[in-house]
Subunit: 408 residues, 2 copies
């Protein structure tokens, strides 16, 4: 029987997960594909280390050796960082192999180039594993896009940050304590910057924006804020108001512009992301026809991510990928502009707060601060006037009703 | 330009939604399909009623007229009940048309026959709209199945029941009051039996079982219980324990058998279905590799359901449907049997309760009853001994920990 030859670049958590899953699921793969799947080569950094890889597999630290294999159908890339991953995938595509990547940073920056190159060489690019691990976010958005115009995407895309915020809330820990707990459990790396300062969520947001809206926001203009400055007092105050802190990555159409942000946000109980706790990921997608669809599941981990990679592999081999819905995407960029969109905010002051220029009818004073309705411009001005105050957006519709009832 | 000719059978909420969406989304459809989509015929019951349907569309109460159209590529069926829908779809397939149905009762009983017939005639059967409206449950399960063995599916599949339970909890209403509210809002029909007694959820469960496990449970053996006997006192008692009532449809492998139930169940805050309120639907799927994935969204309504139908239409025309993962499905039926699976239960007694044969180490007494760990056989015995007590399964892992801490 003819077989599908696969090379895996990188043998960290994801690379190893793919290798093990292919080994243990030979029968399932043969049933779906009508062919055996064989991992023929693995690119590693250190050839000396024993990794329990079968002898029939070429284990090498030299990418050229892999490029010289006589047959190579699919290249799975599970390295970290933009280079050499991008170069390797360009080479792989030029050689005629389907590529599948789990590398969000590389794909956030070079995804479109890779897709164009792949189109020219009539191979496919799979990237389901770059966002939310095993949760089929990419596929669901692409499917919805065939008929829906996507209006907004909101997600909890970084499991490490979500775990830390959950720990702080449930166990009353400080940020350093909860970070330490995350590191002890293997959820956070020794240098946690990428996760807790919002970079990881930001890369994923760029990937989602590209598929949903056909363009990325102007990168420099995207507010990217992490969770390291959230205090346990703020979490307690929020909880007393029925609110929870989440690191929300959000992206939406505002007229012809795509606007996005990654920042700690307060969510009310009515919001679908309220109850996402621990290392879970979740993405909420609003389409003009279907309404709001929310997906939730394990955002990382060896096997969930491997599951996403192998689903991509099956689509690549069977050529069952939906064409990208260019028409729908580009059209959505002509919706009417709404620059003065008013949102809900909570101000947690330290000392006096100046609410200069915000009409008092939009402000509700509460014990621990103020709720208010304002647009982003007004909030920027408020931030400049009140440098020591913390101001958070509030998602969901519980808070305003509640405070209006209670305090007016 | 060549066009795709579509007939719609039935012009209720779903049929009309499909017609309107095709009309308003011509450009998107043409972009994706490379062809125009034309609704050429609509089958209605009463020809006299004005429905705002364009003059170019054949509006008829005679199915034969539709069968005699010279070209017909896709038939969308949105009628209620098993017949004549099943016969119409058989005829449509035999004539070489792709069929798409939103009719859960018909598909629960005749789905496999239709799929086989369609295979023989090399056309496709779309049924995404039969379960959870616009939420892409069917597609996600089929996708996961390519590599995962599905272990369990739990869902809130009936929006009407969920709305009623939410109203009872949030507004302290009785069942009749909340049912009336649902009827006033158009969420429940004049005869609500189908929704509130669990039949609607049961049909959907059969459809999910068929795709996930390749077989249905023995129908007569499936406990199907509705929500009409839940009292507002029980809801309050549950809430005091941090639990919520949900009408849960669940299906899972137990050795080589597929076991399922539709019944009011208590869920803890840690469970992904805890926070699903109002008319929302949600399905939680456990795969052996991917872990637990949960989808949530509008389970009914004109446009969400139309979105699901039109996604099926696109797959049918582009032939991008994944093959059904027979191998994976059938294999899962050989997992090891676990007949004595112990679950968590809450007993809400009326008067004395006899806990005969349940070891006391499994029982925790609380103010309003008992928590206990037991298997289904033991619970059946308990129910026979205590006819006036209500016994509910508890899903999620909060309750037991909590009560052990609080009461022991």
């Amino acid at each position: 029987m003819n077989s599908i030859k696969v090379a895996i670049l990188g043998f960290g958590t994801v690379g190893e997960g793919v290798y093990r899953t292919v080994e243990t699921h030979q029968e399932e793969l043969a049933a779906v594909l009508g062919k055996k799947v064989e991992v023929v080569a693995i690119l590693i950094k250190n050839k000396q280390k024993d990794r329990g890889i079968g002898n029939e597999v070429l284990v090498t630290d030299d990418f050229e050796e892999i490029m010289h294999l006589p047959q190579l159908d699919v290249i799975v890339e599970a390295i970290v960082g933009r280079e050499p991953a991008f170069t390797y995938l360009q080479r792989s595509i030029q050689k005629g192999g389907h590529v599948i990547t789990a590398n969000k940073e590389m794909f956030a920056y070079h995804g479109e180039e890779l897709k164009k190159l792949a189109e020219a060489h009539r191979v496919s690019v799979g990237f389901e594993a770059t966002v939310a691990g095993g949760v089929p976010v990419i596929q669901t958005i692409q499917q919805l896009l065939n008929i829906n115009r996507i209006k907004k995407i909101e997600g909890i895309l970084n499991g490490t940050s979500n775990y830390i915020l959950s720990e702080m809330r449930v166990n009353g820990q400080t940020f350093p304590e909860a970070l330490k707990a995350a590191q002890d459990k293997g959820y956070a790396e020794a240098d946690p910057t990428n996760d807790v300062e919002g970079f990881d969520a930001f890369y994923k947001l760029l990937i989602l924006s590209e598929i949903a809206f056909g363009e990325k926001p102007v990168w420099e203009s995207v507010p990217r804020e992490g969770i390291s400055s959230i205090t346990e007092e703020q979490i307690t105050q929020a909880e007393n108001l029925g609110l929870r802190f989440k690191l929300i990555a959000s992206i939406q159409l505002d007229g012809e512009k795509v606007i996005g942000s990654v920042r700690p946000t307060l969510v009310t109980e009515s919001h679908p992301l309220f109850n996402i706790e621990g290392v879970e990921n979740s993405v909420s997608i609003e389409g003009d026809i279907v309404g709001r669809i929310t997906l939730q599941g394990p955002g990382a981990g060896m096997l969930p991510t491997a599951s996403a990679v192998i689903e991509d592999l099956i689509h690549a081999v069977l050529e069952t990928k939906l064409p990208e819905a260019e028409g729908t995407r580009r059209r959505s960029l002509h919706a009417s502009r709404d620059q003065n969109r008013v949102q809900n905010w909570l101000i947690m002051p330290q000392g006096e707060v100046s609410l200069h220029r915000i009409p008092s009818s939009s402000v509700t004073e509460i014990e621990s601060g103020y709720f208010l309705q304002a647009n982003e411009q007004e909030i920027s001005a408020l931030r400049r006037q009140n440098r020591s105050a913390s101001i958070f957006e509030v998602l969901g519709d519980y808070a305003v009703e509640k405070t209006v009832k209670v305090y007016l």
